[in-house]
């Protein structure tokens, strides 16, 4: 069994100052676009997932806040008859690490764009993408890459073939590894194996600019995914002319991280050579209906702890502080 030592890093002077500066600058950016801060309690007394840090407070099992989006969704669904359209947050979340080098305490800044059911979500998605495009500049990153994906590119073909549960998870894991041969192994003997393997190969064939969308034409599900393709094309047409210098936009058809949560377009921010994404987000329209509210939502989260690590290990990726 792997032995994992919990990693609780202290932030010394430089990192602490950087955290404070970045948090302030990002919250100011969000505020200037109409996002108002909500600060859910650090201690949760509700249904708690396995990855949370838990302890007993007297007889009560409580957990530390493990995710802002979930915590905020609880606050909003309980206390608001109509959704506030723009919400921002900043602070720490506490999670058991999946990889040994991940810290337990993680600092994040993020935002949520919430709408009543039936309202067009395309403008909200664009608004979030534009905001995310401004983040590298605010952080002083010399260059960055924005990956655009769409959860439905994998979800819809699986649903169309009646693949759910563990088998769907295995297919998604194989795609997450970008291993079409694993998709083939997992689906060995399934009636839709040939179609889904061809689809996986189409998704994994390119990782590049707007031309990447053409790879979808080779998929047996090209027609099923026509709407998603048009949506991505429209988004690209809107974003490419206003792309800031030193930010590259790539289409990543095989983006499946968080597929059990995301329902629509997804965005991930990378820096060249960074080992982990620095910000991530997308549309998650099933979250609020699950809490009894007919609202749609999308948002993103900037992972400040990863940025602090990157600033220590790869200072060459950042502009010198003014």
């Amino acid at each position: 069994m792997p032995v994992r030592t919990p990693h609780f890093p202290d932030l010394l002077f430089g990192s602490a100052a950087r955290l404070r500066h970045w948090e302030g600058a990002l919250m100011a950016l969000l505020a200037s676009h109409g996002y108002r801060e909500l600060h859910p309690s650090l201690v949760l007394r509700e249904a708690i997932p396995g990855g949370a840090l838990r302890f007993f407070d007297g007889d009560d099992l409580v957990a530390l806040r493990w995710d802002f989006t979930m915590a905020l969704a609880g606050v909003l669904a309980r206390g608001f008859p109509l959704p506030p359209p723009r919400v921002s947050y900043a602070g720490a979340v506490f999670r058991r690490p999946l990889q040994p080098w991940e810290a337990v305490e993680r600092f994040e800044v993020g935002c949520e764009r919430i709408q009543p059911e039936g309202e067009s979500s395309e403008e909200a998605d664009l608004e979030l993408a534009k905001l995310l495009m401004a983040i590298p500049g605010v952080l002083g990153l010399k260059s960055a890459i924005l990956h655009m994906g769409h959860a439905a590119l994998v979800r819809r073909p699986l649903e169309a073939e009646g693949i759910f549960g563990d088998l769907a998870k295995e297919v998604v894991t194989a795609l997450s590894r970008r291993a079409p041969h694993r998709v083939k192994e997992v689906l060995d003997g399934h009636p839709s194996a040939a179609r889904l393997v061809a689809h996986a190969e189409a998704l994994l064939s390119e990782l590049n600019g707007p031309g990447t969308l053409d790879a979808l034409a080779a998929s047996p599900y090209a027609e099923l995914l026509h709407g998603e393709r048009l949506h991505m094309e429209r988004t690209l047409r809107s974003l490419l002319p206003i792309l800031p210098p030193h930010l590259e936009l790539r289409v990543d058809l095989a983006e499946v991280a968080g597929l059990d949560f995301y329902t629509g377009p997804t965005l991930r921010l990378w820096a060249p050579g960074a080992q982990q994404e620095l910000a991530a987000g997308g549309r998650y329209d099933s979250l609020f209906p699950g809490l009894g509210r007919p609202w749609q939502a999308a948002g993103f989260c900037v992972r400040l702890s990863r940025l602090l690590d990157l600033a220590e290990t790869r200072p060459d990726l950042f502009e010198l502080p003014q």
């Binding site: 590894r177 990782l207 990378w270 060249p272």
Partner: protein, 215 residues
């Protein structure tokens, strides 16, 4: 070597012995003088690209942490370790079976019938998955090498181990009683390096696939 030297992790041992000659004459051929030494970081024919020689079980860690951008490792090792890395290709070579092996004359049914089955293995995850599929329970005896000795000396009733030609099994009077899975060499990549610098990593990955699969 500079800080930006791109590192590829190669396994030592059986897989490495098969792999390194396949790269001779390619841009990723290893420096023969360095190979003869005890150095574990070997320059290649391409400046700025070096190879790390690592034990198979350690290799995925180096790649998952992004120390090495690419690596080659057996799928049996990958399946045992829950590492967040990309698996870009099945390279086909180093093919072997993960098998349940017992002394000659001991059948699968005899093993199934044992009230307390003891299996020695260095593949506990794959063994547990097979036991679960077969609706069996067993005591797992973790070993890291020379598993063939375990049934002979009474440490276990059978072993779960990799079998390529079956020569080592025969030499110890053991036979395969069930095949649990198959393994072959896989090209793996660090998620971060591959997704954030595809123009740097993909050409090398393609070069490796060309040399090792098509070459």
């Amino acid at each position: 070597m500079s800080d930006r030297t791109l590192l590829i992790a190669f396994p030592k041992g059986r897989l490495g012995d098969e792999l390194i000659p396949k790269l001779a004459g390619t841009p990723l051929a290893l420096d023969t003088e360095a190979l003869k030494s005890r150095v574990l970081q070997i320059p290649t024919a391409t400046p700025g690209v070096a190879v790390l020689l690592l034990k198979g079980a350690d290799l995925p860690r180096y790649v998952a942490a992004g120390v090495a951008s690419l690596g080659i490792v057996g799928s049996d090792t990958l399946d045992e370790m829950d590492m967040d890395l990309l698996e870009l290709a099945d390279l086909g070579f180093g093919a072997c079976r993960l098998s349940l092996c017992a002394r000659g004359g001991v059948t699968l049914e005899a093993l199934r019938a044992k009230p307390h089955l003891r299996l020695a293995t260095k593949f506990p995850k794959a063994t547990e998955a097979w036991l679960s599929r077969e609706d069996l329970t067993a005591e797992l005896v973790p070993l890291s090498s020379s598993a063939e000795l375990a049934p002979l000396l009474g440490l276990a009733d059978a072993i779960v181990d990799l079998v390529q030609t079956g020569g080592t099994l025969r030499a110890h009077g053991l036979v395969e009683t069930a095949v649990l899975g198959r393994s072959s060499a896989r090209l793996v990549a660090a998620r971060g390096a591959y997704l954030s610098e595809p123009s740097r990593i993909r050409p090398l990955a393609e070069l490796l696939v060309k040399a090792l699969v098509q070459g």
